[in-house]
Symmetry: C2
Subunit: 412 residues, 2 copies
């Protein structure tokens, strides 16, 4: 028998307990062991829970109990999760977590503590919820160089964008609907501003390229400014707008990492990923394009990913899984202004022809999507470094051209 | 250093040697070991190969060399692969294979020999080429009951159907194009008649449900009879025709397994899987719908999946991976005539109204897609057991109604 503790009895924590309970038989046959929940840490009381007798309010009960070999962290947030996870690892316990903030901010440090203490730190559920992605990525690693990773990594924003695209509902209303359905938090910033996507692409990139990528070093733009007008022009162009976290490995070995809305051609499979679903595209030099698709959040999908990690820990209770990356100063990330981009533009000007000629000159060739009175929507014909695009934008502004929106065109 | 042998230097075998050569550095860091190719078994001569000095024509060199710990089988076919793999396992060597025929026909036996000899038998590349599918499926197993697995598992037939659907090219011409491009064999039966798809859904189902499913016990229908007329009506219905291998677990625990063309609604992600790409939908009770997409064949994708397995063998050189299923008499598969289906029909009759009424009566409600002179295309409104549908077909035939085609409607 292997005794485990669950820290946090919210959506994920209670889901983990439920999956362990309902899949007892197959867990036993697959892990060749019985998994027993000895403690559940939560400050709240759950007198009606089937696990009522396992609850504790004291972390010390868990960390000091040598019988507990595996700890599931499902509290979320950095504090006290970071301290608790670190201490569990130091106490020789393997840890499974679904906490993307924790891994994106402290992954290198915690992986190192795990290594020093010869225990495992697994976090499959931190990216893509129920989609198996980190483990396949890790296992493909040795036989592949990854040219690119790009994903729809946040269900909330994808739900909002799907509503905008398919039902012509404006951003604010779509956000309100998402909140009513429980897909978005009351304070939606973390999703809507792209922070959640950023954490996830950081974790994927850290794993794929072996060096910790810190969210603070990644350019991050949300979907708050996307309007139905842009959705309409994107449609005329033959595309849809999606919030994409993306890492591209450049020829010189540096990484170009961005989180921003992108216009994806409708023929691409990622364009068909709707509602709260997530999908991750991985381009390997051997495997070619591989896409993983599924529910990126939700109680049972996330819990089942956590439980798969728990089983892996049980099977490797006296061994170490190879899952590791080094710390880094992120000098391997190119500054955003040097990132090459091809953009969609929506501009306004009293003199449309003047604006058209100006934009053509400044951006080295454009293709018109459509016009509407004083409005002009077009795409750039070729990629430019972002600093050159910004310079062009400033000249346009100085020439009385209003820039309504600029959205990146996907190049995958 | 771990010494390996590669049996068969065709597309896959030479790809494996190439990937091992080109990814030496990352292989070393991930497997914590140097992988050395000691032998390559092939009856042909390859004097210009960079591995020219490793070739042997004698299997005995490999099986009798105790230094060889891992053998890659990339010969294909049942004989002599079955005998060779069995003897390698008995000699205490782990085996990695991409041979779907071998695993679909002899998986239970070989897994048992591997178990008895405490070695590993891995075969990720046998399904989905470069798409990681067996390992994620195996790892999701414990925390999920699989309700359904459905996949586009054969690139050749998907290429042919894509040409028929997108370019209005008839089957024979599309097949010829596929042959010219090297996607289809000169004798295309294995792909076109669904045998390859059948082997792959058998392997997926054996793993998911823990009992060996033999191809001979699975209903298998190919795409030879699909006409452009059916493609057109499917389009009017809002769908596309794909060759699908599918297993559904029924409420009573029995399995409903079929390989046949199905009409899939265009909104479903599987409908957008085109050309030689493969995709596998897995429905778990915890994870919900998960889809894996990528290149199902090709030298480097397949080779990279083989190499990932080799690394796993290197890491588990003194341990066993849990990957196993029992042998079975397949009494767990429901006979095809009891499988519940909803069908698309195309029929012909001089008296269209008579045919329409007859079909409505016999099938308990139908919805018309379109008519063309004496032709009538419709879908059934509700599922019926196949034996009832066959009975209805026979009565129609007796009533001078010609049945041009009957294609299953996907229910996922």
């Amino acid at each position: 028998m292997v005794q485990i503790a669950i820290m946090g009895y919210g959506v994920v924590g209670s889901g983990v307990a439920e999956v362990i309970q309902t899949h007892k038989k197959s867990l036993k046959s697959h892990s060749k062991n019985i998994i027993d929940i000895k403690y559940i840490l939560d400050l709240r009381d759950f007198p009606d829970s089937p696990f009522a007798d396992r609850f504790t309010k004291s972390f010390e009960d868990i960390v000091n109990d040598s019988e507990v070999q595996i700890v599931v962290e499902a509290m979320g947030g950095l504090n006290p999760a970071y301290d608790f996870v670190r201490r569990c690892l130091q106490a020789g316990k393997s840890v499974v977590t679904s906490n993307k903030e924790l891994i994106a901010e402290k992954g290198a440090d915690l992986l190192n503590v795990a290594l020093e203490n010869n225990v495992n730190l697994l976090f499959e559920a931190s990216v893509g919820g129920g989609i198996p992605i980190l483990r396949p990525l890790n296992q493909c690693l040795a036989a592949n160089n990854f040219l690119e990773i790009a994903g729809i990594l946040n269900g909330t924003t994808n739900y909002i964008l799907t509503k905008m695209i398919n039902d012509n509902i404006p951003f604010d209303t779509a956000l309100k609907q998402a909140q009513e359905l429980g897909y978005a938090e009351r304070n939606p910033d973390c999703d809507v501003k792209g922070y959640d996507t950023c954490r996830k692409i950081c974790i994927l990139s850290s794993l794929a390229y072996g060096e910790h990528i810190y969210p603070k070093n990644v350019y991050c733009e949300g979907i708050e400014k996307i309007s139905l007008t842009d959705v309409k022009y994107a449609d005329m162009y033959g595309g849809v707008i999606k919030l994409i976290g993306r890492t591209r490995r450049l020829g010189n070995g540096m990484l170009d990492i961005t989180v921003c809305p992108m216009i994806i051609k409708k023929e691409h499979l990622l364009a068909s990923v709707n509602d709260v679903f997530n999908a991750i595209l991985v381009k390997g030099d051997s495997t070619g394009d591989v896409i993983f698709y599924g529910r990126g959040a939700g109680k049972l999908p996330t819990a089942s990913a956590v439980v798969a990690d728990v089983i892996d820990c049980v099977k490797h209770i006296h061994a170490r899984k190879y899952l590791y990356w080094e710390d880094s100063d992120n000098k391997n990330i190119i500054p955003y202004e040097y990132s090459m981009s091809r953009m969609y533009f929506r501009i306004k000007c009293e003199n449309i022809n003047f604006a058209l000629n100006k934009a053509t000159d400044l951006l080295g060739g454009i293709t018109l999507i459509g016009t509407d009175e004083e409005e002009l929507a077009f795409t750039m014909d070729k990629e430019l470094p972002l600093k050159d695009i910004t310079k062009a934008e400033n000249i346009m502004l100085d020439s009385n051209i209003e820039i309504c929106s600029v959205i990146k065109l996907a190049d995958f």
